[in-house]
């Protein structure tokens, strides 16, 4: 049976407070719940967690579910901020609601749509799912931002994601167009890449908005 929203939230917070923070347990206070919370009881009943006094322990049985919960949350964040362009608190709030809908393969669809991202918009790791492992084993070439390339790597421009039409227009009129091959020559102090016989320099902010396919 599916966990309740409340239980999912606790599990997610517990993963962050224990596995990611490197602690063996989390205080009830940190999780923001009282000792008689229904969510806690539900999780204890499934043997996902142990509650001893003020401290809550994540049991090995609960780990896979907790990990997937964090994954769903961070995928939801990526979806909100990158694709739906809902930034800041608004995006965060929507992501919190949306994560609970990402069950039964919806998460892997979203993950594939987002091209198996490895970090959330705040830079925290997204635990890989089955779809990521499969993509990796098939050697699927991903679409990544220019910032992900190493100096000397060649790639093909897939799309420009800049929200500012003027900048996009400028890049396009300079010949930085989808379908064009490029070679990244430097990543510091600016990103320098070669298109045809010309070189361009862009800063990190702009490099993040040029998406390329490796190879």
């Amino acid at each position: 049976m599916k966990l309740t929203v409340k239980a999912e939230e606790i599990l997610e917070a517990l993963w962050i407070a224990t596995v990611e923070a490197g602690d063996n347990a989390a205080l009830l206070q940190t999780l923001g719940v009282g000792p008689d919370d229904d969510g806690l009881k539900e999780l204890s009943a499934r043997a996902f967690i142990d509650v001893r006094g003020e401290r809550v322990y994540l049991r090995p049985e609960g780990r896979p579910e907790a990990q997937m919960m964090v994954r769903r949350h961070r995928l939801a964040e990526r979806l909100m901020m990158d694709i739906l362009d809902l930034k800041g608190d608004k995006g965060e709030a929507r992501a919190c609601e949306f994560e609970h809908l990402l069950h039964q393969g919806v998460d892997s669809k979203i993950c594939t749509l987002l091209n198996h991202p490895t970090t959330c918009p705040h830079g925290k790791p997204i635990p890989p799912g089955q779809c990521c492992e499969e993509a990796r084993s098939h050697g699927a070439v991903g679409v990544v931002a220019l910032t992900e390339l190493r100096a000397g790597e060649k790639a093909e421009i897939v799309y420009l994601s800049t929200a500012d039409p003027k900048k996009m227009q400028k890049l396009m009129s300079m010949g930085v167009l989808p379908g064009t091959p490029l070679q990244l020559n430097r990543t510091f102090p600016s990103y320098i890449f070669r298109v045809g016989n010309s070189e361009f320099a862009v800063d990190q902010e702009l490099a993040r908005e040029i998406f390329v396919r490796r190879g």
Binding site: L160, D164, P165, K166, K167, M168, Q169, K170, L171, M172, S173, M174, G175, L177, P178, G179, T180, N185, R186, F188, P189, S190, I192, V195, G196, N197, S198, E199, F200, A201, V202, D203, E205, L206
Partner: protein, 661 residues
């Protein structure tokens, strides 16, 4: 009321027998200006395009007995403008009726530049394609079948290497023998459908082809929309409806779609035209280029450039050797005594005597400073700047400093006006308009007004402080610190978005003597036309001030401020001069120092305060012209207050710590 249904006759052009026009178009860095100079010779005028603040060059040339007027336009990447320069270039297209349009492109980057040719062709313009920089392309091992390209494009194509004047005769022949051929190409059927859907609703008269207007409308160009609105009048809603319908139906960014479509056509056009072997190892210029942008080697190279270009060439040679000769030998020993002697004999009125050869006389002060002091320093600076500019070093410097400049609210691009500021702040203030956002322009203007000493001032200050050990270090430290701190604060205080940095990096190359000389010459010409009258004005004002006693009162009014800084009252005169020309002020200090009136601490404090102090009259007027009265006055007040506060603090600090004795 009588309604006149006849069309209003169009007013005839002012000059009926006006010379046919040749327009030059192209991306930046394709050798447009070199072609312009080769076509027109030295007789060019640089002026603002009517109603805009962007300068364009005009010149004349004669081909087969016909005189043409040639217009050089600012570099543009596409008919859809983004920057002010591009807007003006497009404006020229919308307003002029040219005999031919020379589209200059870089042979190495045909695929990137041909889309613009397509745009010019579809606008219905008489285009001649000039494939320039062939020599560099050949060096890369590229072969370009220009005959085939001409055939495929359906317009005259001329190969050229303007740096060596190769292809000039062919270009002239193409201009003389131009007969209008109608090149044609088609986009994908769905896009063509969209274009004709909009174009068929355009009923008015346009200088550009309706297809081009329709495409610009679909890409939501505000000025073209405005133009169509005023031309179509009551029919405009139908046009708008068609545009909106297309934009909604496609539900994609039409600009991207059109760009991709043009790219597809250009690739097809270039099939079989361009052959390029796989790149072999890196060439020397590429390796050197790598070194200039790698921070570990780039900053030492920058220091080397500064040392050789600025210190040795401008400081030691310009401000030292040449100034000593002109000022010391020519003026002080020969011209001045001779002229003063003449005046003593023939000028009987003492006021006129003063005006001509007195302490602040037109000759003894204005012309002597302008010719003997400022000209050699500014001249060597502009020469060094033009050489460095011609090598293509500045874009590399821009990307090298971009990260630091982001901290002070600017981006790497701003390095060019700031470096130019070391030559002449007034000119640099004008150049800040090439920055993209108002925020960057204001920050750059403030920094120029405050912490960038112009070459004339720099020359005098270097000379002044080099005699006192440690003073130069204290001065440099203060100025750099103020530059960074004020930039950092300005970036926080000023509203607006963070600037983005993107730039094309042209290949490094050996500077071409001809280009360097022309660039230096135009800068010098502008400097002299703009500055020289101000020198005269300043000296007349100072003379009037002296005669009427106003100067004395001003000086005594400033005396408390001078005392607060720990300076002698005489220094006030230097500050008052400073407003007329920054370097007058510094030179005023020079006089004080040679008469032994300043201690090392006083000298340093005065030099720092004066460097930060209000920009000269010319720069102030330029600030007003570029940024408006409010901003200019605001910056002026801010800079003055800050200069005195910093001077006061520095004086306290130096006295307290005992640095500089």
């Amino acid at each position: 009321m009588i309604v006149n249904l006849k069309p209003v006759p169009q007013p005839e052009p002012l000059l009926v027998a006006a010379e046919p026009k040749i327009l030059l178009f192209g991306n930046p860095n394709v050798g447009k200006s070199v072609l312009f100079n080769a076509l027109t010779g030295a007789y060019t005028t640089v002026s603002n395009y009517p109603g805009t603040s962007v300068e364009i060059s005009r010149g004349r040339c004669e081909v087969d007995g016909v005189r043409y007027q040639v217009l050089d336009t600012p570099g543009m990447y596409s008919l859809l403008p983004i920057t002010e320069e591009e807007r003006v270039a497009r404006e020229i297209l919308l307003n002029e009726t040219p005999h031919v349009v020379l589209h200059v492109i870089d042979a190495r980057n045909l695929d990137r530049m041909l889309p613009m040719t397509l745009q010019l062709v579809e606008a219905g313009l008489p285009v001649i394609l000039v494939v320039n920089i062939l020599d560099e392309a050949e060096r890369l091992g590229m072969t370009i079948d220009l005959k085939l390209l001409e055939e495929k494009l359906g317009l005259p194509v001329v190969g050229a290497a303007m740096a060596h004047r190769r292809g000039l005769a062919e270009i002239r022949a193409a201009i003389a023998g131009y007969d209008r051929r109608r090149a044609a190409f088609v986009y994908a059927p769905d896009l063509e459908g969209d274009i004709s859907r909009v174009a068929s609703r355009l009923l008015g008269d346009y200088r550009l082809d309706r297809r081009a207007i329709a495409l610009l409308l679909l890409q939501r160009d505000p000025e073209v929309t405005e133009l169509v609105l005023s031309t179509e009048g009551v029919h405009f809603p139908q046009v708008e409806e068609a545009v909106n319908a297309v934009v909604f139906e496609r539900r994609t960014d039409l600009h991207l779609r059109i760009s991709l479509e043009r790219q597809r056509i250009c690739r097809a056009l270039l099939k079989g035209v361009v052959h390029q072997p796989e790149a072999q190892g890196k060439r020397f210029s590429e390796r050197l280029s790598d070194l200039t942008v790698n921070p570990w080697t780039g900053f030492p190279i920058l220091l080397l450039v500064l040392y050789l270009g600025l210190y040795q060439f401008v400081g030691v040679f310009g401000a030292g050797t040449i100034v000593d000769f002109l000022e010391g030998t020519l003026f002080e020993e020969r011209l001045n005594p001779w002229l003063i002697g003449l005046a003593d004999r023939f000028v009987l009125w003492s006021w006129l005597h003063e005006l001509l050869v007195g302490e602040y006389g037109i000759f003894t002060l204005a012309i002597r400073y302008a010719v003997a002091l400022v000209l050699p320093i500014v001249g060597t600076y502009f020469l060094a700047f033009s050489i460095i500019e011609d090598t293509g070093y500045f874009p590399r410097l821009a990307l090298l400093v971009d990260r630091v400049f982001k901290r002070i609210g600017l981006n790497g691009r701003a390095v060019i006006p700031l470096v130019l500021g070391f030559g002449c702040d007034t000119m640099a203030t004008m150049v800040t308009r090439t920055l993209e956002t108002v925020r960057e322009r204001i920050i750059a203007t403030v920094l120029l007004a405050l912490a960038i000493p112009c070459s004339a001032q720099l020359g005098v200050i270097l000379g002044l402080l080099s005699g006192v050990p440690g003073a130069l270090a204290v001065w440099s430290l203060c100025i750099v610190l103020i530059f960074l701190v004020i930039g950092f604060l300005a970036a926080r205080v000023m509203p607006g978005e963070r600037p983005m940095f993107y730039m094309e990096i042209p290949p490094l190359r050996m500077p071409q003597l001809r280009n360097v000389l022309i660039k230096t010459y135009t800068r010098m010409q502008m400097y002299f036309l703009e500055i020289f009258p101000l020198f005269l004005l300043a000296s007349v004002l100072l003379w009037a001030g002296k005669m009427t006693g106003v100067l004395e009162r001003l000086v005594s009014g400033l005396t408390p401020a001078m005392h607060a800084l720990g300076l002698p009252a005489e220094a006030a005169a230097a500050f008052i001069f400073g407003f007329f020309r920054r370097d007058f002020g510094a030179a005023g200090l020079y006089d004080l120092q040679t008469s032994g009136l300043l201690t090392p601490v006083q000298l340093t404090v005065a030099a720092v305060t004066l460097t930060l102090f209000v920009p000269c009259v010319a720069q102030f007027l330029m600030m007003k012209k570029e940024r408006g009265w409010n901003t200019a006055i605001g910056i002026g007040l801010f800079v003055t207050v800050l200069a005195f506060v910093v001077g006061w603090l520095l004086n306290r600090l130096l006295l307290f710590t005992g640095v500089l004795g």
